[in-house]
């Protein structure tokens, strides 16, 4: 009964007691549920920012249209395809680890990370273009006033999520390299997948909302 006293308990047993459930199935389910709940809160925080844009679009459609006329949709379309493809790479990677193919996971995730990185790079290029025509974070007294801040806030916030996703992806790849995942233990991959697809979903909505409508 030594674990009953905090002083006497060996650190390892205390950690074990407060560590993970022994049943990996239950742990995987807990992790996924927690991730979904986290995504639920992300839905709300993204909606706050997108909502600000929607309200602006609702009241000032002409400004949004003016920006759309000045910008080229091709670059953003390309970017959208990058993200969609990376999502596909993500599930294909997950499929590989479900078949116990670690190398396959690493390959697909490598593709995913590269696509995510290029996405961020192209977004930077796009920001440059917008800045060039005069869409700034704050009002500059030109005909695009009001658009900039409402556009940059959600897209930049999304961009940060992509960057975090790429870093997380690299972390997952490293774990896979060390052999931490298998066909019976891939909750870490699945949870990351949920996050990455969510980032993709947000972009699907952002793309239509901010660039097309």
């Amino acid at each position: 009964m030594s674990e009953m006293s905090l002083e006497k308990a060996p650190a390892a047993s205390v950690e074990a007691a407060h560590g993970h459930e022994h049943n990996p199935g239950a742990r995987s389910e807990n992790l996924k549920f927690a991730t979904w709940l986290y995504l639920a809160s992300e839905v709300v925080i993204f909606a706050t920012m997108i909502g600000v844009f929607i309200v602006f679009r609702f009241h000032n459609p002409e400004i949004v249209q003016r920006v759309h006329k000045e910008t080229n949709i091709l670059l953003v379309t390309l970017n959208t395809f990058l993200l969609l493809t990376s999502s596909w790479a993500m599930v294909m990677g997950l499929r590989e680890i479900q078949r116990d193919n670690r190398q396959g996971l690493i390959r697909w995730f490598g593709l995913m990370c590269i696509l995510g990185t290029v996405f961020v790079g192209l977004q930077y290029v796009e920001y440059q273009e917008l800045a060039h025509i005069g869409v700034a974070l704050f009002n500059q007294g030109n005909e695009f006033d009001g658009f900039g801040m409402r556009f940059y806030a959600p897209t930049a916030f999304h961009g940060v999520h992509v960057i975090i996703g790429v870093l997380w992806g690299l972390f997952v790849m490293n774990n896979a390299r060390k052999g931490n995942y298998s066909s019976s233990n891939y909750a870490g991959v699945e949870v990351f997948g949920l996050y990455w697809h969510f980032v993709d979903v947000v972009w699907i909505i952002l793309f239509t909302m901010l660039y097309l409508v």
Binding site: L6, A26, A34, S41, I45, T48, L137, G146, A153
Partner: protein, 571 residues
């Protein structure tokens, strides 16, 4: 119930269990034990309660006279109440409720820990830096726009302190969300065998409802604060009407969060109250299912009432729907109140300090509730909006509500946390001072508000001086009452009577282990009694006797044992 369920599986009655010794140093470092984290939450919250209380005392001192005397400028006064509000809400009530939740939820579920212990610890450790930021904000250009931080006062006319305060609230919001995710997963997935949803203790129900609100409402605040901070430091103008923004946008986004947030602050307290009333009245919770469902109903309807905080600013046509929903939310609240009255009706009420605070809650919360329904009526709200009537209402539900339940919870669970009883005589003094001080602090505010005193003013018309004097003196009594409790805690931690495992003879699982519980909470997997509030049931007596037999009985136990000899626990 044909067979008697025993609190510990297998009936391995290997002698009286021994409670672990806890050292102060265990609480000062990173730990993933939910009990230690719970106590850390509570200790930090109590510290900030003192900080916020000190600010409140300064406010009341200032308001003894109609003009400035304690502080030099109106801005300083505004800082006092702004930080008071932020501290009390975000660093006292919410963390305190989270502390109770962390300590009790796994125990009540018979689990070893929360679902994500590391995340739990991380969520807690976000709080101290946030607290430092918030206190520090007072030193670098005051946040003077109230806890509501309405722009453009907060964005264009306040100092850098406003930015720090916003950052601090941001951190606290993240902490809340992480904690809430943990609670939801724990309560949904870690219930023991034999505990279906309708055997879940009401505190867990309330925590679940709260956590659902936190996950869906707090991100609104996070989003809004992000935009607010951008407005302050990045030159954007989301809320600046002069630059194409809209100040009312903030009001909506803020109250998307902050109205549900008032239920974040009261629901766990209501859960604790159900436990306390049932246990000390020795009677099952009346209408258990309705109490549980009404928590969920409040959580749901709570999302639809936000704009009643904007009855004087919103477009008139849009106000009426919110009056309807705000009125509707009185119904589940009323169900709770009457269910609690039904709980004590026909009981064997024991007037312990915990019970006194529970009963005090009932009597005070109903005043706040009636005031709340009055405030939901738009024409009357228009008159008293932003006056001391509102100040009274919000303190009746936050102090008379949340804080009274926190006090009840402290008296009820202190024995479990420390293994010693709080002093009952001091507890009764604490209750008497709190009750009287509280009532005469906040009830006269109703009159001041209706007669024409706006809130958040450092200057008021001389005709309100007498009522303000009464309020201030009562507030000082209320301030002193807190120290009675702190002294009680201090002295009882060392010299209190030994509590034993189950001093109140309560049926929920946290009492089916030693006080304080061992690091793994339970030696074997505990078996919950089939009804967490099955008082008066013959089987429950056997179950409780078994707990007493296994873990021993404390000294001079407050609830007499029908069958069991008082056996001093070893030490």
């Amino acid at each position: 119930m044909a067979s008697i369920t025993l609190p510990v599986g297998g009936g391995t009655q290997s002698g009286a269990a021994e409670a672990p010794k806890l050292r102060v140093s265990d609480f000062l470092r990173w730990s993933v034990d939910h009990k230690i984290i719970g106590v850390q939450y509570m200790a930090v919250a109590l510290f900030f309660f003192i900080v916020g209380g000190t600010l409140a005392m300064l406010i009341r001192w200032e308001l003894l006279t109609p003009n400035l005397d304690v502080v030099q400028t109106g801005t300083q006064y505004n800082t006092l109440f702004s930080v008071h509000g932020l501290v009390m809400i975000f660093l006292w009530i919410i963390p305190m409720m989270a502390g109770f939740g962390n300590y009790l939820v796994p125990l009540q579920l018979g689990a070893k820990d929360m679902a994500f212990p590391w995340l739990n610890a991380f969520a807690f450790w976000l709080i101290p830096p946030a607290g430092i930021l918030l206190i520090g904000s007072m030193l670098v250009g005051a946040p003077e726009s109230g806890w509501t931080q309405y722009p453009p006062l907060s964005t264009l006319y306040s100092g850098d302190g406003q930015t720090l305060a916003a950052l601090s609230i941001h951190l606290l919001g993240i902490s809340s969300i992480l904690g809430a995710i943990n609670f939801i997963v724990t309560i949904k997935n870690m219930r023991p065998a034999g505990m279906g949803w309708w055997q879940l203790p009401l505190f867990c129900w309330a925590t679940l409802a709260t956590a659902i609100i936190v996950v869906m409402a707090t991100p609104f605040l996070a989003g809004g604060l992000t935009l607010l901070i951008l407005d302050k430091i990045a030159g954007t103008s989301f809320f600046d009407a002069g630059n194409g923004g809209d100040p009312q946008l903030w009001q909506n986004v803020f109250w998307f969060y902050s109205h549900p947030a008032v239920y974040i602050m009261i629901l766990p307290g209501m859960g604790m109250l159900s436990e306390v009333l049932a246990t000390h009245a020795r009677k099952p919770v009346f209408g258990y299912k309705m109490v549980a469902i009404s928590s969920m109903a409040i959580a749901l309807v709570g999302f639809t009432v936000w704009a009643h905080h904007m009855f004087t600013s919103l477009t008139p046509e849009l106000r009426v729907p919110f009056m309807i929903t705000s009125m509707i939310i009185a119904v589940p609240t009323g169900i709770k109140i009457f269910s609690w009255l039904g709980t004590i009706w026909g009981g064997k009420i024991r007037f312990t300090s915990a019970m006194l605070f529970g009963l005090g809650f009932l009597s005070m919360f109903v005043v706040g509730g009636i005031g709340g329904v009055m405030l939901a009526a738009i024409p009357f709200d228009i008159h008293v909006h932003d006056t001391y009537f509102v100040v009274s209402h919000l303190h009746f539900v936050l102090y008379g509500g949340s804080v009274f339940t926190i006090y009840a919870g402290i008296y009820h669970w202190f024995p479990k946390i420390t293994g010693r009883m709080l002093d009952e005589r001091l507890g009764k003094w604490h209750f008497a001072l709190t009750y009287v001080g509280f009532f005469f602090s906040f009830f006269p505010m109703n009159f001041a508000g209706m007669l024409g005193m706006p809130r958040r003013v450092a200057y008021y018309l001389p005709e309100f001086q007498s009522v303000n004097t009464v309020i201030s003196i009562s507030a000082f009594v209320l301030g002193i009452s807190t120290f009675v409790m702190l002294y009680n805690i201090w002295i009882s931690m060392r010299h209190g009577k030994k509590a034993g495992a189950n001093p109140w003879r309560a049926l929920t699982l946290e009492w089916a282990t030693t006080s304080p519980p061992p690091s793994t909470n339970f030696i074997d997997d505990p078996v919950p009694f089939h009804d967490p509030y099955g008082y008066g049931d013959k089987d429950s007596q056997a179950y409780l006797d078994d707990i007493d037999k296994r873990f021993g009985v404390g000294e001079d136990v407050p609830v007499p044992r029908p069958a069991v000899q008082p056996a001093a626990s070893g030490d």
